[in-house]
């Protein structure tokens, strides 16, 4: 790979990068990876979201944890690097249900709730979602590249794809 800036994004974490850069997050399960791309400036941003909403939480000290607060912060961090909100497009990956459990309680359906809440927040911000690979019952590792905003998705037993 050429000499680009690779940054790892942990769970409940978010990172941004100028071009040339690559942001990656490993082993996404029910968490959702929200990948934003400024199509003009080639600035990228990636959030690894754990929970749908900060509103029901008792502790909101880490705003990268929640879909509603993380996406807003991600957009602001990208704007600080020179991105414009009008040029942003979004891609989503993750939100799986790793364990089936018959009594699908709230916590077990967290993946789909994370996806739904991320979409709501993106709609409110007026950022179009141009691709997604969400749901299922398997983990994903994702890589977001600044040269063209492609999102590479790797799995175990469910192939590799690019969206």
């Amino acid at each position: 790979m050429e000499n680009i800036n690779v940054i790892k994004v942990g769970m409940a974490d978010l990172q941004v990068s100028r071009h040339p850069g690559m942001l990656t997050t490993l082993g996404l399960g029910s968490c959702v990876g929200v990948a934003l791309y400024d199509t003009v400036k080639k600035i990228i941003g990636l959030a690894h979201i754990m929970l749908p909403s900060s509103l029901q939480a008792r502790n909101v000290s880490n705003i990268a944890k929640f879909a509603d607060t993380a996406i807003v912060k991600l957009v602001n961090d990208m704007i600080s690097l020179g991105a414009s909100k009008e040029h942003l497009v979004a891609k989503l990956a993750g939100g799986a249900q790793m364990f089936a459990f018959n009594n699908s309680s709230d916590i077990m359906r967290i993946g789909s709730r994370n996806v739904a809440s991320s979409k709501d927040t993106l709609h409110e911000l007026g950022i179009p979602i141009i691709a997604e690979d969400t749901g299922g019952n398997f983990g994903r590792t994702i890589e977001l590249y600044s040269d063209d905003g492609r999102l590479l998705i790797k799995t175990i037993g469910h192939g590799v794809k690019q969206i």
Partner: protein
Amino acid sequence: MSISINDLNSMHIDVLKEIGNIGAGNAATALAKMLNKRIDMEVPKVKILEFKDVNEILGGAEILVVGILLRITGDLSGYIMFILEYNAAHLLVNILMGKPSSDLNEFSELEASALKEIGNILAGSYISALSSLTNLKISPSVPDMAVDMAGAILSVPAIEFGKVGDTVLYIETEFSEGSAKVIGDFFLIPNVESYDVLLKALGVIN
């Protein structure tokens, strides 16, 4: 007033380790009986991790593992999780089902259900030791299994902690066969509200 992760002192941590020791010890004995092999276990570790570090605790977020998860309810709530190295999981079912140990393809439905049953028996022995030690009523759910990246599996019990804080606590015990081959890790992951219950039941706090 309930104890949060940040309030746990070194004595509390030692008590949680001892709980892991007794529970996992009982589970190791059950596993040894099932396999008719010697099973060793490491001294349990209490890991308090920030979420960003959770994915890496088994040496890499993308390692292929078999995860068997049970929810526990009753006086204590939380999860019990048994993580098996992928090859070790195959070895386990092959020994139990009396098959040659060369087949490393996907698990058949029968093999998967045998693995879940192993999880069930081990979690049952862990819980019964814990329960007789503390006099607490603890019931496990039906086990469920996932074969996937370690990070994706480990994040499932962590998510519940996200609502109340920025760290998760795992009581981890590593199992190996003989003294060489690591089989997997046993995790007890009590919910935040359960530290109080556990420490009170053992007379460590009032």
